[in-house]
Symmetry: D2
Subunit: 361 residues, 4 copies
């Protein structure tokens, strides 16, 4: 049972509501003697934090993280690492209008029905603000794996589809992704994306996105049979992110349309290296990493909070309508990039430790 | 940690290799006093078992299940239910050729690299034969939910895409699905599918498929926040099935291309009923069931075992090629229908029990 | 896996070091709509906090708890409850002498060997200061059970042996326990205990203790077979408390010397009530509560930090000796009473929820 | 949640009732490439099996184990190991008298109240027959640890108190324990014990026992802080065995009566070895192994099934009395020796793997 805990050996437990005093997480099972400081975590949080460009929500949050335990003289001690981020820019009055109305596409309705009570301010626990904690945990996982797997280890995410606009994956450029606010991997399409997104925003509407995350430098053998498959855990990790509705590993849904010949990633040996002719498998065979690049993608639905008036009901069972003002991302998918990377880092570290547990001693 | 166990309260642990003496599972956490007998389980197993038509593998397995514990005088006692299915039609000689060669697309390579040893006969533990255990566990979950939720409860799966051929979802017909060997929901397309599949088979090739599973009669409130979201657990469940590469909840990957207005499932009240104008969410909001039909789909890649010769390597690190003879499904996706249903039943029962644990007492 | 998490459905994860900025815990799985505020928790923390009498350590800690999440308008929301207690009275210089030396009986040696690093200040994570978090979690469990089980529910702990001095259990008096600083249940012995403890303290020595915890108003049926037995989980809970070396359920170790006749708790029916002639079982049969009072006891070893010089080694592998000054409890067992109660409350709530999950729906 | 599963990485799930067709377990998380065969397991099962001497129950069970999965060509493959033992000598008629009556001291009453149904034949799931599965799992753990830790690794259990008769621990002799049917460690007392036990048996009564288990060759560092302490997990393991009512680690309950000076296990260095002057800690400091011998003991209550007539009630709520005939051990504690050893082996392997997971990679 783990309502608010993710992971098996490297585990993190998140807590906090959008408009409570703070949010945070407790990271357990981290290997000892790993150099880590608040800056290592802050760098990743800054990539996710709101209010950084005209493409995201205007809520201003420092997302300043503090380490409360588990690190001594700059190194992890193997004991739980408690991280806290105080909430600052809370305009709870913005949410008075949604106190009694259920926003379509949000969890307002289901949370209230499930628990009989909910903190409606900013969505409370449902808020994507929770994902800051994941990014913090992911920063620690990234640090550990960087040391354990060496410089070849590297996780990069990008937006590969913005609403109705795709991109050319052959133009994927890691450095370019790091430099633009939309995490766009294809320089040739960025301008168009920006224009499109601003028009979406101006109209008070929103759009969805597809995010792709790639991990390199992964050894063969991470993963476990049947109910701890690496792809199973990655799919769960991505699907646990707010607004995610679909997950693909490698060729994903498209693999349904391939023949056995097309789908087959033929293998060959060149010196000591094992080569694969293609990567439809997304680097995972039978739930276990093959040494190829691990590739997954996931779809984020359009932001449910839109200006356009929508029909809905209130908590008293009356028909009504709602137009959500507040401050919202026109495309929540964009800020999902560092979250997807964080979850990838966490799952890979967890499986690295699991593999060592059973197979390396 | 749960390498071979699925679930949180209603849990099952599977064991067994394709060509070992038997396979089976232990189902734990089942509520007591539920009438169940071997026939209830056999009915579901028969839907998955091989050798039933020209569209599936010709391996003949009775898949005869025995209940070894946990049931007394026809009722569950709340103690673990042990199920066993003896393997019968094993032609291990078929596998001598793959003893040393890695079949592309299979887990031969990764299992051996991970463990340093593998039971190569019929794929050993990697074999989809393991899924018979899931179907057995699912049959128990189905029985429990039928009693707890009443007659409205109902889970139906179908193949909605066979290789390059889709179908018309508006023609979805539960009864028709139950009557045809391809679990096709659309009468108008079946003939074409059959023709297509036979040609695939004749050519020694294979094709992928998309399976859709629908659950009705689910109360509002199943699911749990953040790391036990209902959709997260369903995605994990489906991705744990052999050869599955993608999972969609509701509109899934397509939701990326929708606007906020298009994606919004507007709500209204009619008498005591809560109505939704559409179901892009697939019946799940914020990880919690909304009372709508739960809809998910997943893609199964084409069978990796094909007659066409493919380049590969052997366990000694030499380049070679392979043509897999044996007896194989031209489309493993077809037999994935009862497996997807079983996993849906198991996840829903698990969340039903979890919900009761925290919120109903 | 749960290095720092306790419980199955009602779970808490603790974090923090003795001399770090703060300690705290995250409580997950708490039922919603339970009225709780910081005062409910503070009352219990005050019973454990140091510096309250001449019988405990003179470290002054307010142990002022703050609720950071999971409670909205005075009620639990079903989401994780994050609690934080800032450390105040830290004299880290006291610990410079133990920076390199291993205190016999402490975990200094084993922590350093295990992790290759340790926060030596005040024992770091090993410190019994962690138990404040348990008391906080226990206060929440107590509140929930008080509502779910009603007024009959009640957990009371006491010191029943102080070093070499026992007490007369027939004089057990709940009210008296609450009124004296030694949690002594027997008025006739208190004075002697106080005198004994002061002499122990004056001599710079320490003594052990036995704590007994009783729970009343427990329904029949809590517990689960085999590996979630109620007594198994209670034993684990008590043994997880610092310095605990033995646990008894009911007659405990003494039951070895009884005959079947003596040990047999004969049953009879009086009206609707089931009566037991004795309670050697401690209220638990086959791992499941019988409706009798649940009784357990545990032994706390004498405080390892003593003034008397002891032989030891340092981290460089040299022989040396140590005399631990600092501020220490002459008998850590005393402050273990509210901790034992807290763990009892947590385990019982956990099993109450587990029982509902499987058997009540 | 793990009603019927024990362990975290090395996990086993047991199933089966006393008078069902079979009992068994599934062992998961076992490292690959460990040579194991049915004989390795059978040897341990033979030490526990009934009907071997006049000191135990006369039920005749071969307890012949079969390995159904997870072992290939004589070696573990890292996949789940399924073990099955068919029940043979079942005289269910013996139990007709207890069908409706609750045996005092047994779980008849609590199981029925909890589940509303129970398999009364031979106690069903409550029966100590379940412990055969533990012994089987323990045999695997022992094999793994023997390879991982080398020849110094060794676990030995003995009966150290039989009813009212103790023994001289200074006479502890491993070889002698292996040779006598009472697992008595002290040659000078065996005759007296035998005489005493036969008289107990003749009178239709029963007696309790204390079992001590010692593990040698354990490296420093096994265990984990707070909620996975090695002693916590060992206490849980022992308390999960039928009829166990108390557990001591090292000096255990007696440590309450010691002073800090007496309890202090002073340390010194001799060459590269770390020496301890005494072992009150039982080889565990702060939940982590210190490299000393691990010593624990537990009390087994007298067999509840006795010939002497006892007052009880039946399931219809009537007062009645019962005299249990059947075939029973006069002291169930004796056969608990191999069970205690098995649980020690399982816990140690589990912690060995956990330690590797977090700290060795």
């Amino acid at each position: 049972m783990s309502f608010n805990t993710f992971g098996k050996i490297f585990r993190f437990t998140t807590w906090g509501e959008s408009h409570g005093p703070a949010i945070g997480c407790v990271v357990d099972g981290c290997p000892p003697n790993i150099p880590i400081n608040a800056d290592d975590i802050q760098i990743e949080l800054n990539r996710r934090k709101p209010g950084q460009s005209k493409f995201t929500t205007q809520r201003k949050e420092d997302d300043k993280v503090q380490i409360l335990s588990g690190v001594f003289e700059g190194k992890t001690t193997g004991t739980p690492i408690s991280l806290i981020i105080y909430n600052k820019d809370m305009r709870s009055r913005d949410y008075e209008t949604i106190k009694n109305k259920f926003r379509p596409g949000h969890a307002d309705f289901t949370y209230l029905k499930k628990y009989g009570i909910r903190d409606y301010r900013g969505g409370g626990r449902q808020s994507a603000r929770e994902t800051a904690s994941r990014v913090a945990a992911g920063a620690i996982a990234k640090k550990v794996l960087g040391i354990k797997l060496g410089k070849k280890y590297n996780v990069v995410g990008a937006v590969t589809q913005l609403g109705i606009l795709g991109c050319n994956l052959k133009n994927w450029n890691d450095k370019f992704i790091r430099k633009n606010k939309l995490f766009c991997p294809d320089k040739s399409i960025l301008k168009l994306w920006e224009k499109y997104l601003l028009s979406i925003r101006k109209s008070g509407s929103s759009c969805g996105a597809v995010i792709e995350v790639r991990a390199r430098g992964i050894p063969v053998g991470l993963g476990a049979p049947i109910y701890s498959k690496l792809d199973m855990d990655l799919a769960a990790a991505m699907m646990s992110i707010n607004a995610v509705k679909g997950v693909n590993i490698g060729s994903g849904m498209n693999s349904a349309q391939l023949t056995g010949e097309q789908n087959s990633d033929e293998m060959s040996k060149k010196g000591k290296s094992t080569l694969f002719k293609s990567n439809n498998a997304g680097g995972i065979l039978g739930g276990i990493s093959s040494g190829q690049e691990i590739i997954l993608s996931f779809a984020v639905k359009p932001t449910s909070s839109i200006l356009t008036k929508r029909k809905t009901i209130d908590k008293f069972g009356k028909n009504t309508s709602i137009s959500v003002k507040g401050r919202h991302d026109p495309c929540v998918g964009i800020r999902a990039v560092p979250i997807g990377e964080a979850m990838m880092n966490c799952v890979l570290l967890d499986h690295f430790l699991m593999h060592n547990a059973q197979c390396k001693n």
